[in-house]
Symmetry: C2
Subunit: 827 residues, 2 copies
């Protein structure tokens, strides 16, 4: 009766989906200018046009997102939940428009209104909710999960301040908070009613229930988690999945009494501090400082996500025993590993399952991916901290550990050394919980992020575990999404590839890219290829001039090293190499200088705020640049630029313009590396050590297609043992001495930096690798002169990059780790 | 060329204003459900429908608001800026729809979609950014300013938490933070680019500029003020003005250094605390505690508003001497009085005007309205606090005071007593700045809020000033807007009035209301009038049952006292009167009981969290209610209900349902009172003392048309002197004793409360007024039995309320104080 009348009315008013012809787009844009951005249709600037356009795209995303969620609900497939504390999404506008397939229509619509699409896209700030590789990987994988129609959810934290902005003053790094939400964020949907209470502190008490003893957690504090959904559209599909990020809000359900006693204003201000939990991303990508706020973030994230996941399961299913048939939980590093004791707590304390039953479920649902290479870098949580913040979880972890130790003893007997190495609890000055050990024991699968990484895990870091449970260990080499790293960021190359392959299908089916090999020597491809590369270099050169005032020659080789600043990544090796090159030019006869291949050396990356050596490397880079760039002897033969505030958008601009890129970590220190893959895809040649995923890149494109150098993984321990007895090349000593002697100024400041690479201190083997580094650089110079050869190598690099698409990574995960299948939303 | 092409394109795409037929409204609502609320068109609940509808109305408001702002810009009239730290707006949906004139269309559109307009309107939470009368007055005046087409702006603070929610537990008041923004606020437009830096702390240094000495403030801290615009639509006009509220955000322009030294996380967390400035409304409407946070709020508000106002002036005018021709600044009480030294600082330190020139401008732009009755309650700021937070402002205030003292000496000679009474600086244990004295000296006009208030100001509080500058002193009796207080909240009465007056014009032209006098004895109006009142009582009775479980009889007299709990407002007198009535009923013969007029006594209101006596009054009310409501001897003859969490929405529900309302402050304590006006408009009879605006209500409707009692203003001092020698009626002693003796429990807790009304302590003269209070109550009972008389009185109350429309108040202000004229936006 009435209900049908109502439903009919609604159907009548549905005139199908939003239209994407330029006229409809224009109308929608102008409506958003007036009603959403609240500006006049007749006067709005580029930023306001960006906002309006974004809302117009958001509307279209929402349509697909609704349909996808409804479809998943109807089909009820097994779902994967990707738990990560970091996502480096970058900008969303271009990516969304491309994945929706309406780039041209949008550009047309805008140009008639007097706006340029590219200019508007530049208005968007980066969503930088992560530090580096791990976080960008999460973002790439979300894109692949959506494109490949997998029923997947990402969960994360909605930091109010993303990764700090790097500002350079006098060559020193300063950190500025990243107020990324200050101008609104059209890419998220606030879900004011999707909230969960998250509890902290308090005590554990024993209760008798049905004659049985139960542990009950009586929490002392409560905050509210509010969901913000970020729709992630797939390419060439209607599927649009959810990245759900949680923000902390003061809870209004709790401790009302507090307000009848003390000072009302104080009480409210204190409670408001709850929001601090989700306010800042920890700006360190390798070290863990055991800070309470960080632990709070982790649990806040885990608790809210699991409440949501369990709620979704229970909406449809009654029996928790079916949980593993419907749910896969992926731990992105150990950051979300508190999910293990949290699920145990819910199953045992709240759902009253028996311990064994509960643990059985745990072992079927979790898979764990580690990004760490060194045992020392594994995350540990001080027991004291955990005991005060999450007393019940500590108990559960202890219980899991007892069980684990019993199992172990059955397998290996009373080998106390090994037992104590493998134990989840680390005794010592600061008693701690080893999150990796917990994660390995409780996961059905442990993944490394490259073949080499996996070998290191099996033979070094997790040897004890591997020997007992070899079947748990797998690896899925990282990948990057060609949608963002070619289609969005290098439209000219994208068009070129499609033209030569005769199809755009490679955008969803990356293996087709290999088809380019066929034309690797085709002269007319060569011409077009070089043209595309030159246009990209021009764009980069303009950016360099705009940001640093430096004019660079397009004929020079653009040599890029952009990534987080770390001693192991050896930006210092690069800088010392540049000093060497400079020194050579200075000492050359004028005539000889004509033979030098001109270089523009580009370095970029952020240092963790507390990482002193990394900050000194940044300063050294600036000091050296100051000298070189102002030396008229050198001119265009050598330039050094530091590009500040490296982030996804900067990467999108720089990578397509690079001729050569450096990935020169000391072998055995980079778990995978994904930066290299992006350069590779874009036809940039690599100058690299055989570390992380580079080993597999070599397998794909061959040693001859790149510039390889340096010690191999198994050489490293030996070299380190040798220490100061290694004969270091004279040139190396010379360039270090130049720094020491104040040739670039700041003599005192650089002293400690110089110390790190001399004698027994040279842990990262800069001295040992210097000679072969210079040789590789010389080979690159030589290669660059032969432009035909270089172009062929460049084409083969792109053609050989298909193995490094995150589509392949995700396909592997789906099949071999998560056991999920595509669930495609009909059109 | 290109620009015209672009403009033409935009005109083409403008198909005029949004349409308001039900079909267009439905389409817009469903679009907002899908794209703004991000729910499915086929499944959304009442709250989501409310959100969608609100956005749909917001779109329409934005259209008018744009046009109005553009019109003002073109015409450039003199503008009034209303500066108030508090606005009690209540809900916006119904009000907006009514002012837009599309109530029926909306109701139709919704009902076809299966929703009821009234139900959706109930979903909205109150915007409660104020304490009581002063704040609601600001809101009413904004409505009048918009309706009467004045070029006006309201400025205020966007508190993240409004006035606390009152929760009653066991009869005690508890305070809950009011998370009013948690579910989004469609009624504001975030203006991310309208931001100003606001500075605090630091030092003052001397600089030489062009050979002249200048004082320069070197601030130590900076936060950012972001604007949120709330469109305020007028009724029967296109004009839609702006209420601009400021929120505090951490500033990103400042102290970058901080981040290269200490701990990055700590630094960001500390900076984030900037947001605290605008987070909480101080929940006290009469006392000032000299807290730093409060002072910060005041200056934050003043500084941001003035930057905005001066920027707007300078966009068009070069010469600051014209400022007074274009700008009127209205100080709503002394809360924004820092605007005076701030304008001086800008003119002298930043614009480099001479001191005299600057002070001349000051004296032409400011007008000041005081809401205070007692000298003791005037706001003072400790010099220490000001010196640390705003060192330059303190200097300027000192300079103003020196100038003031010199002027005074010329007029009154060396009368040091008087000089020190009038000085802006108060010496004493805590050296302080008297904000009222500053405001009076620097304003061209000082307004009281009722005739009686004005007399008190002239003869007591500001006698010294009045004698010297009588021409400065005016009064504008407060008013309330009939749009909200009849049209929105009492639609049945609204329709009835329009029917009998034959026009709806009274909604803009309130004097027409007097036309009802003609029909005051018309029997058929009587019938309809009573019917309307009964329906409203029914709605109120349902609310009472829903919130407290108490069933009340519609035949009883609904007797309401709802307002902030204060000793001077004498809720205690009311309760003691109720105890007396209860006592009488208990002691009556059964037969006599039949003659008793049944009563439902309704009390409501919030106590400031730190105001102990007010909280005890609330508890006493509950204790007495507990006794009476459960006494079967009493039955329907007497009920006592406390309605919790009094706010604008509750007022809108309760006022139309009241037969009698009490405004019983000790004479000389209520500056005006606006609650009484709302009851009056709705045909509720008043039981009142001759205090505040009641004196003028008497002038309008006559003493016979209400129930007046108690000491008059000039009696009060004499009565107080008499103190315990006054003969207090026996009944009074008896009811107080009942409380003392624990008849209602909580004997110890109530002891101190009882002490406040006995003997010399009875400052508010409850004892002295008790007898005449009971007589007035008896007269009300008698009046109620004669329903014809009562109805006539009720009609005459409404008919006589036109003088108390805020339209009249604003007309007076515009003519006599601000010197502004209407500026009507063409249709
Ligand atoms: C902003 C950003 N940071 C870090 C990385 C990871 O770089 P790498 O794998 O070279 O350390 C990437 C990858 O492109 C990136 O875009
Ligand atoms: C919520 C609220 N508080 C306070 C007041 C002021 O009431 P009074 O003037 O009776 O103190 C009003 C007026 O209606 C109101 O609506």
């Amino acid at each position: 009766g009435e209900r049908t009348a109502k439903a009919e009315r609604m159907f009548e008013l549905m005139d199908g989906f939003l239209k994407n012809d330029p006229l409809s787009l224009q109308k929608d844009i102008l409506d958003h200018v007036e009603y959403t951005v609240a500006r006049s249709r007749f006067s709005f600037d580029d930023f306001e046009a960006y906002q309006a356009l974004s809302h117009c795209i958001r509307d279209r995303l929402i349509e697909r997102w609704h349909d996808t969620q409804l479809h998943f609900k109807r089909k009820d497939p097994k779902r994967v939940y990707f738990l990560s504390l970091e996502y480096l999404m970058g900008r969303s506008l271009s990516n969304s428009i491309i994945n929706l397939g309406i780039r041209d229509q949008c550009a047309d619509a805008l140009s008639q209104l007097g706006f340029e699409f590219e200019v508007l896209a530049e208005q968007e700030g980066d969503a930088a909710l992560g530090n580096g590789g791990l976080a960008r990987l999460s973002a790439c994988q979300m894109d692949s999960l959506a494109t490949m129609d997998f029923p997947a959810w990402g969960y994360g934290l909605r930091y109010q301040y993303g990764l700090f902005r790097q500002v350079i003053l006098d060559g020193f790094q300063h950190e500025q908070p990243d107020y990324w939400l200050n101008f609104g964020n059209p890419w998220e949907i606030e879900r004011v009613h999707v909230t969960y209470p998250v509890k902290f502190y308090g005590t554990v008490e024993e209760e008798i229930l049905n004659g049985e003893k139960h542990q009950v957690w009586i929490p002392g504090e409560m905050v509210e988690a509010v969901a913000y959904d970020n729709p992630i559209p797939g390419y060439g599909t209607r599927n649009t999945i959810t990245l759900r990020l949680w923000a902390a809000k003061p809870s209004n359900q709790h401790d009302m009494e507090a307000y009848n006693t003390g000072d009302y204003i104080d009480a409210v201000v204190n409670r408001q501090r709850a929001e601090t939990i989700s306010s800042i991303l920890y700006p360190d990508d390798r070290s863990h400082q055991g800070k309470e706020l960080r632990l709070k973030q982790q649990y806040f994230f885990v608790s809210a996500s699991l409440q949501d996941i369990i709620r979704r399961f229970k909406d449809v299913h009654k029996d928790l025993n079916q949980f593993p048939d419907k749910v896969a939980l992926q731990l992105n590093d150990t950051h979300p590993a508190l999910a293990i004791p949290e699920v145990m707590r819910v199953l045992v304390d709240e759902e009253h399952l028996g311990w064994n039953k509960a643990f059985d479920i745990i072992c079927k649902i979790f898979s764990f991916t580690t990004h760490t290479v060194l045992a020392e870098a594994l995350e540990k949580i001080p027991v004291d901290l955990l005991e005060s913040l999450l007393p019940r979880h500590l108990q559960i972890i202890y219980d899991i550990n007892s069980f684990f130790m019993e199992e172990l003893k059955k397998r290996i007997g009373l080998d106390y050394n090994r037992l104590s190495r493998m134990s989840i609890v680390e005794e010592g000055a600061v008693k701690s919980i080893r999150m990796a050990n917990l994660s390995i024991f409780c996961s059905h699968t442990v993944n490394g992020v490259s073949k080499l990484h996996s070998e290191l895990l099996q033979t070094r870091v997790f040897k004890d575990f591997y020997e007992l449970w070899p079947e748990k260990f797998q690896y899925k080499t990282n990948g990057v999404t060609q949608r963002r790293w070619i289609v969005v960021s290098n439209p000219n190359l994208c068009a070129l590839i499609s033209k030569w392959l005769g199809t755009e299908s490679w955008i969803r089916d990356i293996d087709l890219l290999m088809g380019l090999r066929e034309y690797a020597t085709d002269i007319s491809l060569h011409q077009e290829w070089r043209m595309v590369r030159r246009v990209n270099k021009m764009r980069l050169a303009e950016y360099i001039e705009a940001t640093s005032g430096l004019k660079v020659s397009l004929d020079a080789m653009f040599d890029v090293q952009m990534k987080r600043i770390h001693e192991y990544k050896r930006q210092l090796l690069n800088i010392l190499g540049i000093i060497h090159r400079y020194d050579c030019i200075k000492n050359m006869a004028k005539d000889d200088r004509r033979k030098v291949v001109p270089r523009v050396c580009i370095i970029g990356g952020k240092a963790a705020p507390g990482y002193e050596m990394a900050k000194k490397i940044i300063k050294l880079c600036h000091a050296v640049a100051e000298k070189i760039n102002n030396d008229s002897d050198v001119g265009d033969l050598l330039k050094l630029v530091f590009i500040p505030d490296y982030n996804v958008s900067v990467a999108e601009l720089v990578i397509p313009g690079a001729d050569l890129s450096q990935h020169i970590s000391t072998a055995g220190h980079e778990a995978s590396g994904t930066g290299s893959m992006k350069f590779l895809m874009n036809g940039c040649l690599l100058l690299a050590t055989a570390d992380g995923s580079t080993v597999e890149i070599i397998e794909e494109i061959g040693e001859d297609n790149m510039f390889l150098f340096g010690a191999k993984v198994h050489d490293v321990p030996t070299l380190r043992e040798k220490g100061s007895t290694i004969k270091v090349p004279l040139q190396f000593a010379r360039v270090v001495r130049m720094v020491r002697d104040g040739y670039f100024g700041f003599q005192d400041y650089f002293e400690s930096l110089c110390n790190t690479v001399e004698g027994n201190n040279d842990y990262y083997l800069l001295g040992a690798d210097f000679e072969s580094y210079l040789e590789a650089q010389a080979a690159a110079d030589k290669g660059f002169i032969d432009q035909e050869k270089w172009t062929r190598m460049s084409i083969l690099s792109t053609a050989g990059s298909s193995r490094f698409s995150s589509d392949r990574t995700i396909q592997d995960y789906a099949e071999k780790t998560w056991g999920i299948e595509p669930c495609r939303c009909p059109l």
